[in-house]
Symmetry: C2
Subunit: 329 residues, 2 copies
Protein backbone atom coordinates (compact mmCIF):
# COMPACT_ATOMS: atom_id res chain seq x y z
CA UNK A 1 0.00 0.00 0.00
CA UNK A 2 1.20 3.49 -0.90
CA UNK A 3 0.31 6.18 1.65
CA UNK A 4 0.48 9.93 1.14
CA UNK A 5 0.24 12.22 4.19
CA UNK A 6 -0.21 15.90 3.36
CA UNK A 7 0.49 18.15 6.33
CA UNK A 8 2.85 15.57 7.82
CA UNK A 9 4.90 18.13 9.76
CA UNK A 10 1.99 19.39 11.84
CA UNK A 11 1.11 18.20 15.31
CA UNK A 12 -1.45 15.58 14.26
CA UNK A 13 0.72 14.52 11.31
CA UNK A 14 3.78 13.90 13.48
CA UNK A 15 1.77 11.95 16.04
CA UNK A 16 0.14 9.89 13.30
CA UNK A 17 3.53 9.05 11.80
CA UNK A 18 4.81 8.10 15.23
CA UNK A 19 1.82 5.76 15.61
CA UNK A 20 2.53 4.21 12.19
CA UNK A 21 6.13 3.69 13.33
CA UNK A 22 4.96 1.81 16.45
CA UNK A 23 2.36 -0.25 14.58
CA UNK A 24 3.07 -0.31 10.83
CA UNK A 25 -0.14 -2.30 10.11
CA UNK A 26 -2.36 0.33 11.74
CA UNK A 27 -3.57 1.76 8.41
CA UNK A 28 -4.89 -1.63 7.37
CA UNK A 29 -2.03 -3.19 5.43
CA UNK A 30 1.69 -3.23 4.94
CA UNK A 31 3.04 0.06 3.64
CA UNK A 32 5.43 -0.14 0.71
CA UNK A 33 5.77 3.61 0.32
CA UNK A 34 5.08 6.47 2.72
CA UNK A 35 5.16 9.95 1.18
CA UNK A 36 5.32 12.69 3.78
CA UNK A 37 4.80 16.24 2.57
CA UNK A 38 4.18 19.63 4.14
CA UNK A 39 5.01 23.27 3.58
CA UNK A 40 8.19 22.58 5.57
CA UNK A 41 10.01 19.31 4.87
CA UNK A 42 8.76 16.66 7.32
CA UNK A 43 11.20 14.44 9.18
CA UNK A 44 10.89 10.69 8.56
CA UNK A 45 11.24 8.48 11.63
CA UNK A 46 14.44 6.46 11.40
CA UNK A 47 12.86 3.01 11.34
CA UNK A 48 10.72 4.02 8.35
CA UNK A 49 13.66 5.50 6.45
CA UNK A 50 13.61 2.73 3.83
CA UNK A 51 9.99 3.39 2.78
CA UNK A 52 9.53 7.08 3.59
CA UNK A 53 10.15 10.06 1.33
CA UNK A 54 9.87 13.59 2.66
CA UNK A 55 9.23 16.70 0.67
CA UNK A 56 8.46 20.40 1.14
CA UNK A 57 5.56 21.43 -1.09
CA UNK A 58 3.22 24.34 -1.75
CA UNK A 59 -0.24 22.84 -2.17
CA UNK A 60 -1.60 26.07 -3.68
CA UNK A 61 0.91 25.94 -6.57
CA UNK A 62 -0.43 24.63 -9.88
CA UNK A 63 1.17 21.25 -10.57
CA UNK A 64 1.78 20.27 -6.94
CA UNK A 65 -1.36 18.16 -6.68
CA UNK A 66 -0.66 16.34 -9.96
CA UNK A 67 2.91 15.58 -8.82
CA UNK A 68 1.66 14.14 -5.51
CA UNK A 69 -0.99 11.99 -7.18
CA UNK A 70 1.18 10.84 -10.14
CA UNK A 71 2.42 8.04 -7.90
CA UNK A 72 -1.20 6.80 -7.42
CA UNK A 73 -1.23 6.53 -3.61
CA UNK A 74 -3.84 4.10 -2.29
CA UNK A 75 -4.46 6.20 0.79
CA UNK A 76 -4.31 9.96 1.06
CA UNK A 77 -4.53 11.60 4.46
CA UNK A 78 -5.00 15.33 3.97
CA UNK A 79 -4.20 17.25 7.14
CA UNK A 80 -2.73 20.38 5.58
CA UNK A 81 -4.34 23.76 6.18
CA UNK A 82 -3.69 27.41 6.71
CA UNK A 83 -5.04 27.66 10.25
CA UNK A 84 -8.07 29.65 11.27
CA UNK A 85 -6.40 32.87 12.39
CA UNK A 86 -4.11 33.07 9.37
CA UNK A 87 -6.89 32.24 6.90
CA UNK A 88 -8.89 35.09 8.43
CA UNK A 89 -5.95 37.52 8.26
CA UNK A 90 -4.85 36.51 4.75
CA UNK A 91 -7.93 35.97 2.60
CA UNK A 92 -6.03 34.87 -0.51
CA UNK A 93 -3.68 32.48 1.25
CA UNK A 94 -6.53 30.74 3.07
CA UNK A 95 -8.61 30.23 -0.07
CA UNK A 96 -5.57 29.32 -2.18
CA UNK A 97 -4.40 26.53 0.11
CA UNK A 98 -7.50 25.36 1.96
CA UNK A 99 -10.03 25.50 -0.86
CA UNK A 100 -8.16 25.58 -4.18
CA UNK A 101 -5.26 23.39 -3.02
CA UNK A 102 -7.68 20.72 -1.80
CA UNK A 103 -9.78 21.03 -4.95
CA UNK A 104 -6.68 20.57 -7.11
CA UNK A 105 -5.94 17.38 -5.17
CA UNK A 106 -9.43 16.03 -5.89
CA UNK A 107 -9.11 17.04 -9.52
CA UNK A 108 -5.68 15.40 -9.82
CA UNK A 109 -7.24 12.17 -8.51
CA UNK A 110 -10.03 12.45 -11.07
CA UNK A 111 -7.53 13.07 -13.89
CA UNK A 112 -5.47 10.06 -12.79
CA UNK A 113 -8.60 7.91 -12.80
CA UNK A 114 -9.27 8.86 -16.41
CA UNK A 115 -5.92 7.36 -17.43
CA UNK A 116 -6.67 4.05 -15.75
CA UNK A 117 -9.06 3.02 -12.97
CA UNK A 118 -8.07 4.64 -9.68
CA UNK A 119 -10.12 5.22 -6.54
CA UNK A 120 -7.97 6.00 -3.53
CA UNK A 121 -9.17 6.42 0.02
CA UNK A 122 -9.17 10.13 0.88
CA UNK A 123 -9.26 11.08 4.56
CA UNK A 124 -9.76 14.78 5.11
CA UNK A 125 -9.16 16.70 8.34
CA UNK A 126 -12.15 18.97 8.69
CA UNK A 127 -13.01 21.06 11.71
CA UNK A 128 -15.50 22.07 14.35
CA UNK A 129 -15.21 25.47 12.61
CA UNK A 130 -17.70 24.39 9.91
CA UNK A 131 -20.32 25.26 12.56
CA UNK A 132 -21.21 28.83 13.49
CA UNK A 133 -23.19 30.25 16.43
CA UNK A 134 -25.94 30.42 17.56
CA UNK A 135 -26.09 26.74 18.53
CA UNK A 136 -28.49 24.46 20.34
CA UNK A 137 -27.09 23.18 23.66
CA UNK A 138 -26.18 19.93 21.90
CA UNK A 139 -25.42 19.99 18.17
CA UNK A 140 -26.82 16.92 16.42
CA UNK A 141 -25.55 15.04 13.38
CA UNK A 142 -27.99 16.90 11.09
CA UNK A 143 -27.20 20.47 12.17
CA UNK A 144 -26.32 22.82 9.36
CA UNK A 145 -22.90 24.25 8.61
CA UNK A 146 -22.88 28.04 8.78
CA UNK A 147 -19.22 28.85 9.38
CA UNK A 148 -18.29 32.27 10.76
CA UNK A 149 -14.70 32.18 9.53
CA UNK A 150 -13.16 31.84 6.09
CA UNK A 151 -11.30 28.79 7.41
CA UNK A 152 -14.58 27.10 8.35
CA UNK A 153 -16.05 28.05 4.97
CA UNK A 154 -13.11 26.49 3.15
CA UNK A 155 -13.39 23.29 5.20
CA UNK A 156 -17.15 23.08 4.56
CA UNK A 157 -16.60 23.50 0.81
CA UNK A 158 -14.05 20.70 0.69
CA UNK A 159 -16.48 18.53 2.67
CA UNK A 160 -19.13 19.06 -0.03
CA UNK A 161 -16.66 18.25 -2.80
CA UNK A 162 -15.45 15.16 -0.97
CA UNK A 163 -19.01 13.86 -0.70
CA UNK A 164 -19.76 14.49 -4.36
CA UNK A 165 -16.48 12.99 -5.58
CA UNK A 166 -17.19 9.94 -3.41
CA UNK A 167 -20.73 9.63 -4.76
CA UNK A 168 -19.26 9.88 -8.27
CA UNK A 169 -16.84 7.00 -7.49
CA UNK A 170 -13.80 9.20 -8.10
CA UNK A 171 -12.47 8.46 -4.64
CA UNK A 172 -13.60 6.93 -1.36
CA UNK A 173 -13.64 9.88 1.00
CA UNK A 174 -14.38 10.69 4.59
CA UNK A 175 -14.26 14.05 6.37
CA UNK A 176 -13.14 13.98 9.99
CA UNK A 177 -14.36 17.02 11.90
CA UNK A 178 -11.85 17.42 14.69
CA UNK A 179 -12.84 18.65 18.16
CA UNK A 180 -10.48 21.13 19.82
CA UNK A 181 -7.36 19.11 20.54
CA UNK A 182 -6.33 19.25 24.16
CA UNK A 183 -3.69 19.12 25.60
CA UNK A 184 -1.77 20.54 22.62
CA UNK A 185 1.93 19.87 23.24
CA UNK A 186 4.56 22.56 22.73
CA UNK A 187 4.67 26.18 23.81
CA UNK A 188 1.72 28.45 24.65
CA UNK A 189 0.49 30.06 21.44
CA UNK A 190 -1.53 33.13 20.60
CA UNK A 191 -4.55 31.22 19.26
CA UNK A 192 -7.73 32.26 21.05
CA UNK A 193 -8.28 28.60 21.98
CA UNK A 194 -4.75 28.21 23.36
CA UNK A 195 -5.73 28.69 26.99
CA UNK A 196 -7.74 25.44 27.09
CA UNK A 197 -4.42 23.59 26.74
CA UNK A 198 -2.17 26.17 28.41
CA UNK A 199 -3.94 25.95 31.78
CA UNK A 200 -3.16 22.24 31.94
CA UNK A 201 0.13 21.88 30.08
CA UNK A 202 2.00 24.75 31.75
CA UNK A 203 1.11 23.87 35.36
CA UNK A 204 1.91 20.19 34.66
CA UNK A 205 5.39 21.44 33.67
CA UNK A 206 5.63 23.55 36.85
CA UNK A 207 4.88 26.85 35.09
CA UNK A 208 2.20 29.49 35.50
CA UNK A 209 -0.62 29.84 32.96
CA UNK A 210 -3.19 32.57 32.27
CA UNK A 211 -6.92 31.75 32.24
CA UNK A 212 -8.74 34.52 30.32
CA UNK A 213 -12.35 33.23 30.70
CA UNK A 214 -14.72 32.17 33.47
CA UNK A 215 -14.83 28.62 34.82
CA UNK A 216 -18.28 27.89 33.35
CA UNK A 217 -17.12 28.27 29.72
CA UNK A 218 -17.89 24.97 27.95
CA UNK A 219 -16.27 23.45 24.85
CA UNK A 220 -15.68 20.15 22.98
CA UNK A 221 -12.36 18.34 23.42
CA UNK A 222 -10.30 15.30 22.52
CA UNK A 223 -6.66 14.39 23.10
CA UNK A 224 -4.00 14.27 20.39
CA UNK A 225 -4.07 10.48 20.87
CA UNK A 226 -7.78 10.43 20.01
CA UNK A 227 -7.10 12.59 16.95
CA UNK A 228 -4.63 10.00 15.69
CA UNK A 229 -7.19 7.31 16.46
CA UNK A 230 -9.82 8.99 14.24
CA UNK A 231 -7.48 8.80 11.26
CA UNK A 232 -6.28 5.25 11.84
CA UNK A 233 -9.90 4.15 12.31
CA UNK A 234 -10.97 6.02 9.17
CA UNK A 235 -8.15 4.28 7.28
CA UNK A 236 -9.57 0.82 7.95
CA UNK A 237 -13.32 1.51 8.19
CA UNK A 238 -15.63 0.15 5.50
CA UNK A 239 -16.70 3.52 4.08
CA UNK A 240 -19.78 2.06 2.43
CA UNK A 241 -21.16 2.00 5.99
CA UNK A 242 -20.84 5.80 6.09
CA UNK A 243 -23.19 6.22 3.13
CA UNK A 244 -23.42 9.45 1.15
CA UNK A 245 -23.09 11.73 4.19
CA UNK A 246 -19.34 11.57 4.33
CA UNK A 247 -18.48 14.21 6.91
CA UNK A 248 -18.69 13.38 10.57
CA UNK A 249 -18.18 15.29 13.78
CA UNK A 250 -15.82 13.16 15.85
CA UNK A 251 -16.58 12.04 19.39
CA UNK A 252 -15.21 14.27 22.09
CA UNK A 253 -15.73 15.38 25.64
CA UNK A 254 -17.98 18.34 26.46
CA UNK A 255 -16.41 20.01 29.48
CA UNK A 256 -16.11 23.38 31.19
CA UNK A 257 -12.93 25.14 32.18
CA UNK A 258 -13.98 24.32 35.75
CA UNK A 259 -14.10 20.60 34.79
CA UNK A 260 -10.58 20.93 33.37
CA UNK A 261 -9.24 22.47 36.58
CA UNK A 262 -11.01 19.97 38.85
CA UNK A 263 -9.53 17.10 36.82
CA UNK A 264 -6.08 18.70 37.01
CA UNK A 265 -6.41 18.93 40.77
CA UNK A 266 -7.48 15.26 41.02
CA UNK A 267 -4.62 14.11 38.82
CA UNK A 268 -1.82 16.48 39.91
CA UNK A 269 -2.86 18.09 43.21
CA UNK A 270 -3.66 21.63 44.39
CA UNK A 271 -0.04 22.86 44.19
CA UNK A 272 -0.31 22.42 40.41
CA UNK A 273 -3.72 24.08 39.96
CA UNK A 274 -2.49 27.10 41.98
CA UNK A 275 -0.28 27.92 38.97
CA UNK A 276 -3.41 28.98 37.03
CA UNK A 277 -3.83 32.77 37.16
CA UNK A 278 -7.23 34.25 36.39
CA UNK A 279 -6.99 37.29 34.10
CA UNK A 280 -10.36 37.77 32.33
CA UNK A 281 -10.04 39.00 28.75
CA UNK A 282 -13.27 40.25 27.16
CA UNK A 283 -11.94 39.87 23.61
CA UNK A 284 -11.09 36.19 24.05
CA UNK A 285 -14.35 35.62 25.89
CA UNK A 286 -16.31 37.10 22.97
CA UNK A 287 -14.53 34.81 20.46
CA UNK A 288 -15.05 31.73 22.63
CA UNK A 289 -18.77 32.55 23.00
CA UNK A 290 -19.11 31.80 19.27
CA UNK A 291 -17.83 28.24 19.66
CA UNK A 292 -19.75 25.00 19.94
CA UNK A 293 -20.22 23.65 23.45
CA UNK A 294 -21.53 20.14 23.02
CA UNK A 295 -22.41 17.58 20.35
CA UNK A 296 -24.45 14.44 19.96
CA UNK A 297 -22.29 12.33 17.65
CA UNK A 298 -24.39 9.19 17.27
CA UNK A 299 -23.19 8.45 13.75
CA UNK A 300 -19.47 8.61 14.55
CA UNK A 301 -19.95 6.51 17.68
CA UNK A 302 -21.98 3.91 15.79
CA UNK A 303 -19.16 3.72 13.24
CA UNK A 304 -16.66 2.95 16.01
CA UNK A 305 -14.89 6.30 16.48
CA UNK A 306 -13.92 6.95 20.10
CA UNK A 307 -12.51 9.63 22.40
CA UNK A 308 -11.86 10.24 26.09
CA UNK A 309 -14.81 10.23 28.49
CA UNK A 310 -13.25 12.34 31.29
CA UNK A 311 -10.74 15.18 31.50
CA UNK A 312 -8.70 13.02 33.88
CA UNK A 313 -8.05 10.70 30.93
CA UNK A 314 -7.12 13.61 28.66
CA UNK A 315 -4.60 14.83 31.25
CA UNK A 316 -3.15 11.34 31.78
CA UNK A 317 -2.66 10.94 28.00
CA UNK A 318 -0.54 14.10 28.09
CA UNK A 319 1.45 12.96 31.13
CA UNK A 320 2.14 9.59 29.47
CA UNK A 321 2.81 10.78 25.91
CA UNK A 322 4.58 14.10 26.53
CA UNK A 323 5.99 14.13 30.04
CA UNK A 324 7.21 10.55 30.38
CA UNK A 325 4.88 10.16 33.37
CA UNK A 326 6.46 13.02 35.34
CA UNK A 327 4.45 15.98 36.73
CA UNK A 328 5.79 19.37 37.85
CA UNK A 329 8.71 19.96 35.47
Amino acid sequence: MKVLIIGAAGMVGRKLISRITQAPEILGGSIEKLSLVDVIKPVAPQNLADIATCQAIDLSKVGTAEALIADRPDMIIHLAAIVSGEAEADFDKGYDVNMKGSYMLLEAIRAEGKKQPYKPRFIFASSIAVFGAPFPDKIGDEFFTTPLTSYGTQKAIVELLLSDYSRRDILDGIGIRLPTICIRPGKPNAAASGFFSNILREPLAGKEAILPVEDHVRHWFASPRSAVGYFTHAATLDLSLVGPRRNLMMPGLSATVGDEIAALERVAGPKITKLIKREPDATIRAIVDGWARDFSVKRALSLGFTAEKTFDEIIRVHIDDELGGKIGG
Copy 2:
Protein backbone atom coordinates in the same frame (compact mmCIF):
# COMPACT_ATOMS: atom_id res chain seq x y z
CA MET B 1 -29.06 52.01 -10.14
CA LYS B 2 -27.23 49.59 -12.45
CA VAL B 3 -28.70 46.08 -12.50
CA LEU B 4 -27.05 42.96 -13.91
CA ILE B 5 -29.17 39.84 -14.48
CA ILE B 6 -27.18 36.72 -15.27
CA GLY B 7 -29.32 33.95 -16.70
CA ALA B 8 -31.79 36.49 -18.08
CA ALA B 9 -33.02 34.20 -20.89
CA GLY B 10 -34.27 31.47 -18.55
CA MET B 11 -37.84 31.10 -17.38
CA VAL B 12 -37.42 32.98 -14.08
CA GLY B 13 -35.19 35.58 -15.75
CA ARG B 14 -37.74 36.36 -18.45
CA LYS B 15 -40.56 36.62 -15.93
CA LEU B 16 -38.46 38.85 -13.68
CA ILE B 17 -37.68 41.17 -16.60
CA SER B 18 -41.35 41.25 -17.51
CA ARG B 19 -42.13 42.27 -13.90
CA ILE B 20 -39.48 45.01 -14.04
CA THR B 21 -41.08 46.24 -17.27
CA GLN B 22 -44.49 46.50 -15.57
CA ALA B 23 -43.12 48.13 -12.42
CA PRO B 24 -39.69 49.67 -13.04
CA GLU B 25 -39.28 50.66 -9.35
CA ILE B 26 -39.76 47.07 -8.13
CA LEU B 27 -36.05 46.53 -7.46
CA GLY B 28 -36.01 49.47 -5.06
CA GLY B 29 -34.98 52.39 -7.22
CA SER B 30 -34.89 53.78 -10.70
CA ILE B 31 -32.79 51.71 -13.06
CA GLU B 32 -30.33 53.63 -15.21
CA LYS B 33 -28.81 50.54 -16.80
CA LEU B 34 -30.11 46.98 -17.10
CA SER B 35 -27.56 44.42 -18.34
CA LEU B 36 -29.17 41.17 -19.42
CA VAL B 37 -26.85 38.26 -20.10
CA ASP B 38 -27.19 34.53 -20.66
CA VAL B 39 -25.58 31.75 -22.66
CA ILE B 40 -27.99 32.71 -25.44
CA LYS B 41 -28.56 36.43 -26.05
CA PRO B 42 -31.59 37.57 -24.02
CA VAL B 43 -34.29 39.70 -25.59
CA ALA B 44 -34.86 43.12 -24.04
CA PRO B 45 -38.47 44.18 -23.67
CA GLN B 46 -39.19 47.08 -25.99
CA ASN B 47 -40.11 49.64 -23.37
CA LEU B 48 -36.75 49.06 -21.66
CA ALA B 49 -34.78 49.31 -24.90
CA ASP B 50 -33.19 52.63 -23.91
CA ILE B 51 -31.63 51.25 -20.71
CA ALA B 52 -31.19 47.54 -21.51
CA THR B 53 -28.17 45.86 -23.08
CA CYS B 54 -28.29 42.19 -24.01
CA GLN B 55 -25.34 39.88 -24.42
CA ALA B 56 -24.55 36.20 -24.93
CA ILE B 57 -21.81 35.11 -22.51
CA ASP B 58 -20.01 32.00 -21.28
CA LEU B 59 -19.75 32.37 -17.52
CA SER B 60 -17.17 29.60 -17.31
CA LYS B 61 -14.74 31.47 -19.57
CA VAL B 62 -11.90 33.29 -17.85
CA GLY B 63 -12.50 37.03 -18.23
CA THR B 64 -16.29 36.88 -18.52
CA ALA B 65 -16.88 37.68 -14.86
CA GLU B 66 -14.45 40.61 -14.89
CA ALA B 67 -16.11 42.04 -18.00
CA LEU B 68 -19.56 41.81 -16.38
CA ILE B 69 -18.41 43.45 -13.16
CA ALA B 70 -16.21 46.13 -14.78
CA ASP B 71 -19.32 48.27 -15.03
CA ARG B 72 -19.79 48.07 -11.22
CA PRO B 73 -23.47 47.02 -11.15
CA ASP B 74 -25.22 47.93 -7.88
CA MET B 75 -27.40 44.85 -8.01
CA ILE B 76 -26.46 41.45 -9.41
CA ILE B 77 -29.15 38.80 -9.78
CA HIS B 78 -27.44 35.49 -10.57
CA LEU B 79 -29.92 32.99 -12.00
CA ALA B 80 -27.59 31.19 -14.41
CA ALA B 81 -26.93 27.48 -14.03
CA ILE B 82 -26.33 24.28 -15.85
CA VAL B 83 -29.44 22.42 -14.70
CA SER B 84 -29.45 19.36 -12.51
CA GLY B 85 -29.65 16.65 -15.17
CA GLU B 86 -27.00 18.21 -17.38
CA ALA B 87 -24.64 18.90 -14.46
CA GLU B 88 -24.97 15.23 -13.54
CA ALA B 89 -24.34 14.06 -17.12
CA ASP B 90 -21.46 16.47 -17.80
CA PHE B 91 -19.28 16.68 -14.69
CA ASP B 92 -16.89 19.30 -16.10
CA LYS B 93 -19.55 21.59 -17.52
CA GLY B 94 -21.53 21.63 -14.26
CA TYR B 95 -18.51 22.46 -12.12
CA ASP B 96 -17.15 24.94 -14.66
CA VAL B 97 -20.31 27.02 -14.85
CA ASN B 98 -22.12 26.46 -11.55
CA MET B 99 -19.14 26.47 -9.20
CA LYS B 100 -16.19 28.10 -10.94
CA GLY B 101 -18.27 30.59 -12.96
CA SER B 102 -20.02 31.77 -9.79
CA TYR B 103 -16.73 31.88 -7.89
CA MET B 104 -15.17 33.99 -10.64
CA LEU B 105 -18.08 36.43 -10.30
CA LEU B 106 -17.47 36.75 -6.55
CA GLU B 107 -13.75 37.17 -7.15
CA ALA B 108 -14.35 39.81 -9.83
CA ILE B 109 -16.45 41.74 -7.29
CA ARG B 110 -13.65 41.46 -4.74
CA ALA B 111 -11.07 42.64 -7.28
CA GLU B 112 -13.25 45.60 -8.24
CA GLY B 113 -13.60 46.51 -4.56
CA LYS B 114 -9.83 46.65 -4.21
CA LYS B 115 -9.67 49.38 -6.87
CA GLN B 116 -12.24 51.53 -5.06
CA PRO B 117 -14.94 50.77 -2.50
CA TYR B 118 -17.64 48.56 -4.00
CA LYS B 119 -20.20 46.35 -2.29
CA PRO B 120 -23.02 45.33 -4.62
CA ARG B 121 -26.11 43.41 -3.65
CA PHE B 122 -25.73 39.83 -4.89
CA ILE B 123 -28.90 37.72 -5.15
CA PHE B 124 -28.20 34.09 -5.92
CA ALA B 125 -30.70 31.51 -7.16
CA SER B 126 -30.00 28.42 -5.08
CA SER B 127 -32.09 25.29 -5.00
CA ILE B 128 -34.00 22.72 -3.00
CA ALA B 129 -31.30 20.38 -4.40
CA VAL B 130 -28.86 21.46 -1.67
CA PHE B 131 -30.79 18.97 0.48
CA GLY B 132 -30.45 15.21 0.15
CA ALA B 133 -32.55 12.36 1.52
CA PRO B 134 -33.30 10.95 4.04
CA PHE B 135 -35.34 13.84 5.39
CA PRO B 136 -37.54 14.51 8.41
CA ASP B 137 -41.21 14.98 7.48
CA LYS B 138 -40.67 18.73 7.72
CA ILE B 139 -37.22 20.17 7.00
CA GLY B 140 -36.40 23.03 9.37
CA ASP B 141 -34.26 26.11 8.82
CA GLU B 142 -31.27 24.46 10.52
CA PHE B 143 -31.24 21.17 8.57
CA PHE B 144 -27.93 20.30 6.98
CA THR B 145 -27.11 20.37 3.28
CA THR B 146 -26.08 16.95 2.00
CA PRO B 147 -26.79 17.18 -1.73
CA LEU B 148 -27.09 13.98 -3.75
CA THR B 149 -26.33 15.61 -7.10
CA SER B 150 -23.36 17.55 -8.42
CA TYR B 151 -25.76 20.41 -9.16
CA GLY B 152 -26.84 20.55 -5.51
CA THR B 153 -23.19 20.36 -4.43
CA GLN B 154 -22.30 23.30 -6.67
CA LYS B 155 -25.22 25.36 -5.35
CA ALA B 156 -24.28 24.57 -1.72
CA ILE B 157 -20.67 25.62 -2.35
CA VAL B 158 -21.71 28.97 -3.82
CA GLU B 159 -24.01 29.46 -0.81
CA LEU B 160 -21.03 29.04 1.52
CA LEU B 161 -18.92 31.46 -0.52
CA LEU B 162 -21.76 33.99 -0.65
CA SER B 163 -22.05 33.92 3.16
CA ASP B 164 -18.33 34.33 3.68
CA TYR B 165 -17.98 37.11 1.10
CA SER B 166 -20.93 38.88 2.76
CA ARG B 167 -19.37 38.47 6.21
CA ARG B 168 -16.14 39.90 4.79
CA ASP B 169 -18.04 42.95 3.45
CA ILE B 170 -17.08 42.18 -0.14
CA LEU B 171 -20.72 42.10 -1.18
CA ASP B 172 -24.18 42.00 0.37
CA GLY B 173 -25.45 38.58 -0.58
CA ILE B 174 -28.52 36.44 -0.19
CA GLY B 175 -29.14 32.90 -1.42
CA ILE B 176 -32.70 32.12 -2.51
CA ARG B 177 -33.42 28.39 -2.38
CA LEU B 178 -36.19 27.91 -4.90
CA PRO B 179 -38.96 25.34 -4.39
CA THR B 180 -39.97 23.33 -7.45
CA ILE B 181 -41.61 25.88 -9.73
CA CYS B 182 -45.09 24.87 -10.78
CA ILE B 183 -46.74 25.33 -13.24
CA ARG B 184 -43.68 25.69 -15.47
CA PRO B 185 -44.85 27.23 -18.75
CA GLY B 186 -43.76 25.85 -22.10
CA LYS B 187 -43.64 22.30 -23.40
CA PRO B 188 -43.42 19.07 -21.39
CA ASN B 189 -39.75 18.33 -20.74
CA ALA B 190 -37.81 15.23 -19.85
CA ALA B 191 -36.81 16.40 -16.37
CA ALA B 192 -37.86 13.89 -13.71
CA SER B 193 -39.83 16.67 -11.99
CA GLY B 194 -41.61 17.66 -15.20
CA PHE B 195 -44.79 15.73 -14.48
CA PHE B 196 -45.69 17.94 -11.50
CA SER B 197 -46.29 20.74 -14.02
CA ASN B 198 -47.28 18.60 -17.01
CA ILE B 199 -50.34 17.11 -15.30
CA LEU B 200 -51.75 20.62 -14.80
CA ARG B 201 -50.45 22.59 -17.78
CA GLU B 202 -51.31 20.07 -20.50
CA PRO B 203 -54.91 19.36 -19.41
CA LEU B 204 -55.49 23.12 -18.92
CA ALA B 205 -54.52 23.43 -22.61
CA GLY B 206 -56.85 20.57 -23.54
CA LYS B 207 -54.07 17.99 -23.93
CA GLU B 208 -53.34 14.66 -22.29
CA ALA B 209 -50.55 14.32 -19.71
CA ILE B 210 -48.80 11.32 -18.19
CA LEU B 211 -48.64 10.88 -14.40
CA PRO B 212 -45.77 8.48 -13.60
CA VAL B 213 -46.16 8.36 -9.77
CA GLU B 214 -48.85 7.63 -7.20
CA ASP B 215 -51.25 10.30 -5.94
CA HIS B 216 -49.74 10.35 -2.44
CA VAL B 217 -46.33 11.59 -3.62
CA ARG B 218 -45.64 14.87 -1.80
CA HIS B 219 -43.36 17.76 -2.79
CA TRP B 220 -42.71 21.51 -2.24
CA PHE B 221 -44.03 24.01 -4.79
CA ALA B 222 -44.37 27.66 -5.71
CA SER B 223 -45.58 29.44 -8.83
CA PRO B 224 -43.35 31.30 -11.30
CA ARG B 225 -44.99 34.48 -9.97
CA SER B 226 -43.82 33.63 -6.44
CA ALA B 227 -40.32 32.96 -7.78
CA VAL B 228 -40.20 36.46 -9.25
CA GLY B 229 -41.51 37.77 -5.94
CA TYR B 230 -38.62 36.18 -4.00
CA PHE B 231 -36.11 38.08 -6.13
CA THR B 232 -37.90 41.44 -6.08
CA HIS B 233 -38.32 41.11 -2.30
CA ALA B 234 -34.65 40.15 -1.90
CA ALA B 235 -33.72 43.21 -3.96
CA THR B 236 -35.29 45.62 -1.48
CA LEU B 237 -34.92 43.74 1.83
CA ASP B 238 -32.56 45.12 4.48
CA LEU B 239 -30.07 42.24 4.38
CA SER B 240 -28.64 43.11 7.78
CA LEU B 241 -31.87 41.54 9.09
CA VAL B 242 -30.82 38.25 7.52
CA GLY B 243 -27.65 38.11 9.62
CA PRO B 244 -24.72 35.83 8.77
CA ARG B 245 -26.91 32.89 7.68
CA ARG B 246 -27.50 34.18 4.19
CA ASN B 247 -29.17 31.25 2.47
CA LEU B 248 -32.86 30.69 2.93
CA MET B 249 -35.33 28.10 1.79
CA MET B 250 -38.21 30.03 0.26
CA PRO B 251 -41.84 29.62 1.32
CA GLY B 252 -43.81 27.16 -0.72
CA LEU B 253 -46.74 24.84 -0.63
CA SER B 254 -46.34 21.23 0.49
CA ALA B 255 -48.81 19.23 -1.56
CA THR B 256 -49.39 15.77 -2.96
CA VAL B 257 -50.08 14.86 -6.55
CA GLY B 258 -53.59 14.08 -5.32
CA ASP B 259 -53.87 17.66 -3.98
CA GLU B 260 -52.79 18.97 -7.39
CA ILE B 261 -55.45 16.95 -9.20
CA ALA B 262 -58.19 17.85 -6.71
CA ALA B 263 -57.35 21.55 -7.14
CA LEU B 264 -57.38 21.16 -10.91
CA GLU B 265 -60.81 19.59 -10.72
CA ARG B 266 -62.08 22.42 -8.50
CA VAL B 267 -60.69 25.09 -10.82
CA ALA B 268 -61.24 23.49 -14.24
CA GLY B 269 -63.72 20.63 -13.79
CA PRO B 270 -63.65 16.83 -14.26
CA LYS B 271 -63.39 16.94 -18.06
CA ILE B 272 -59.95 18.53 -17.64
CA THR B 273 -58.68 16.13 -14.96
CA LYS B 274 -59.73 13.16 -17.12
CA LEU B 275 -56.87 14.12 -19.45
CA ILE B 276 -54.38 12.85 -16.84
CA LYS B 277 -53.26 9.31 -17.71
CA ARG B 278 -51.71 7.18 -14.96
CA GLU B 279 -48.62 5.32 -16.18
CA PRO B 280 -46.47 4.41 -13.16
CA ASP B 281 -42.73 4.62 -13.84
CA ALA B 282 -40.50 3.01 -11.20
CA THR B 283 -37.42 4.96 -12.29
CA ILE B 284 -39.08 8.34 -11.89
CA ARG B 285 -40.68 7.20 -8.63
CA ALA B 286 -37.24 6.26 -7.26
CA ILE B 287 -35.81 9.68 -8.16
CA VAL B 288 -38.76 11.53 -6.66
CA ASP B 289 -38.46 9.50 -3.43
CA GLY B 290 -35.16 11.30 -2.84
CA TRP B 291 -36.80 14.73 -2.89
CA ALA B 292 -37.90 16.91 0.01
CA ARG B 293 -41.58 16.79 0.87
CA ASP B 294 -42.14 19.65 3.28
CA PHE B 295 -40.35 22.54 4.96
CA SER B 296 -40.77 24.80 7.94
CA VAL B 297 -39.48 28.14 6.62
CA LYS B 298 -39.89 30.39 9.65
CA ARG B 299 -36.95 32.60 8.79
CA ALA B 300 -38.03 33.37 5.21
CA LEU B 301 -41.61 34.04 6.36
CA SER B 302 -40.44 36.35 9.14
CA LEU B 303 -38.38 38.26 6.56
CA GLY B 304 -41.49 38.79 4.45
CA PHE B 305 -41.06 36.24 1.66
CA THR B 306 -44.37 34.76 0.51
CA ALA B 307 -45.84 32.04 -1.73
CA GLU B 308 -49.19 30.49 -2.57
CA LYS B 309 -51.13 28.77 0.19
CA THR B 310 -53.26 26.45 -1.99
CA PHE B 311 -52.84 24.65 -5.30
CA ASP B 312 -55.96 26.42 -6.54
CA GLU B 313 -53.98 29.67 -6.34
CA ILE B 314 -51.02 28.13 -8.18
CA ILE B 315 -53.33 26.98 -10.97
CA ARG B 316 -55.08 30.36 -11.17
CA VAL B 317 -51.70 32.12 -11.48
CA HIS B 318 -51.01 29.96 -14.53
CA ILE B 319 -54.43 30.59 -16.06
CA ASP B 320 -53.99 34.35 -15.55
CA ASP B 321 -50.35 34.69 -16.56
CA GLU B 322 -50.05 32.10 -19.34
CA LEU B 323 -53.50 31.35 -20.71
CA GLY B 324 -55.09 34.81 -20.65
CA GLY B 325 -57.77 33.39 -18.38
CA LYS B 326 -58.85 30.69 -20.83
CA ILE B 327 -59.04 26.97 -19.93
CA GLY B 328 -59.16 24.01 -22.31
CA GLY B 329 -56.97 25.17 -25.23
